[in-house]
Amino acid sequence: MMAAVDNYKKSRPPPAASAGVIGWCRQNLFSSFSNTILTLVSFYLLALAIPAFLDWAFFSSQISGNTRFDCKVEGACWAWVDQRFGQFLFGFYPEGERWRVILAFVLLFPALIPWVTQDLPGQRYLRWFSVAYPAIATILLAGGLGLREVPTDKFGGFMLNLIVGLSGIVLSLPVGILLALGRQSKLPLIRWLSIGFIEAIRGVPLITLLFVSNILLPIFLPPDMTLDSIIRVIIMVTAFASAYMAEVIRGGLQAIPSGQIEAAHAMGLNYWKSMRLIVLPQALRISIPGIVNTFIGLFKDTTLVIVIGLFDILGIANAMVSNPDWLGLSTETYVFVAVFFFAVCFSMSRYSMWLERRLGKQRH
């Protein structure tokens, strides 16, 4: 029999082979024969692709010229960027007024700060600014208060994607939350209405909804009431995204143990307070990957506005590719557009990872 332990063993650092760069490589890249093969094949493919792309995009490319006939190089011809950059960003927004769009874009960042950090001085004012931002941006973009009015059919380019995408993102989250709660409601009427809305919207392609908003909606509305086409798009995109959002959030709601709601009720919190203070903070945290996934999908779907005659960045690109001056430059054009979408979508994805980490830290 073993004697009782007098001294507990001290904890030691792990063996050197499992730490450091070499340890990492050994564990992750060369841990077995098949892993080693995979690593080598991957490196080989990357070695083929990356230099070739860099050569095409930068080293053998050309950046000056007036038409495609000036393009003399093997690689990419970026000569059109100089001429068309403004259009890609602003569509047909009058050139003299474009500073307003830039200002609205710059002001977006302080408006986003309250969502990114919580420990800045003047946080309260920023929060108010964040709430007021949609009104400020609307006035800057469309005019009013002494600013010249710009009709919304002049809106276009990447600015249009951002307007529709951000409005859809900001609106679809609260609408999605209400639909998700409605779908779980004990009141049959609210439950049926929520289910009906979600299933009807989800069962139809967004492109159809956009057509409906363009052709059918004016028939239902009173004849003297016209709804701006961008507002119609925002309504439809929001409706579409919020139906998906509702299902993502419902998944999160179902993951919250019923004991949480019981405890909240037992303490005297009513339904809305229990949801707001106890259930939703936990359910939304679980749903972050799905929510951001829906946001990213929504943002890319903004390119569909082309079907109702609005020219977003992709619409402008399509128009340029079929322009005789620049015929045949479709690769360059679409790569250029892809960079814009990638920048926004990748940022959203990083933001979601950061948010998950931060909320996770709070908990442990």
Binding site: P257, G259, Q260, E262, A263, A264, H265, A266, M267, G268, L269, N270, K273, L277, I278, P281, Q282, R285, L359, Q362, R363, H364
Partner: protein
Amino acid sequence: MDNSKLNNSDNHLRVIEIEGLNKWFGSFHVLRDVSLSVEQGEKIVICGPSGSGKSTLIRCINFLEEHQEGQIVVDGIELTGDLKNIDAVRREVGMVFQSFNLFPHLSVLENCTLAPIWVRKTPQAEAEKLAMEYLDRVKIPEQAHKYPGQLSGGQQQRVAIARSLCMKPKIMLFDEPTSALDPEMIKEVLDVMVDLADSGMTMLVVTHEMGFASQVADQIIFMDEGQIVEQNTPSEFFDNPQSDRTKLFLSQILSH
């Protein structure tokens, strides 16, 4: 002896009055004609085999479960479907659950101040002071800024008790408060409950801790198949059980 104790209390107010309570889960008749009255300051321990309806009974008292027949009056307020009455009763009745049900996204202190701030409209500073008093009373003031996930089971259950007490309830319900705990932690929770009982709180406790029952209870209720089979003082209940079912139950839980 227990009767004399009750008579000596200032006025024996009936704080809970249950009359002819019936409840079904689907077609399963879970509570059958249960009647029970509880006086202020009384401690009642409810025991019985699983599925006997003891948890359901105390969950009816704060309307976590809706009853179909019978009458429940808590602190003079009858529980019907009326939301106002339900909220009023819940403000006066605290509950401690088997699985603690602390809010994992809030710190211990925030768990305790949430209901006072949002239900009682207590100013935050005052609510925090109150919370620290109760955390002190359950002997974990030093954990106030941790999150529930960082605490042991026993500590979590003590936080849950403090959280309920922060609403200054008149009645406390305990639904198997020690059943999910490691043996080493049961005592620390029972100590807090004994302390609470000594302070004169009205308590209904569903538990199998017979040591606690004999030490604290004024009445022990034994339930089986949705009915109150036997109700007696601890000494009578343990030494002179009346029904065969009670004898069998006692022989099984006391044999270890």
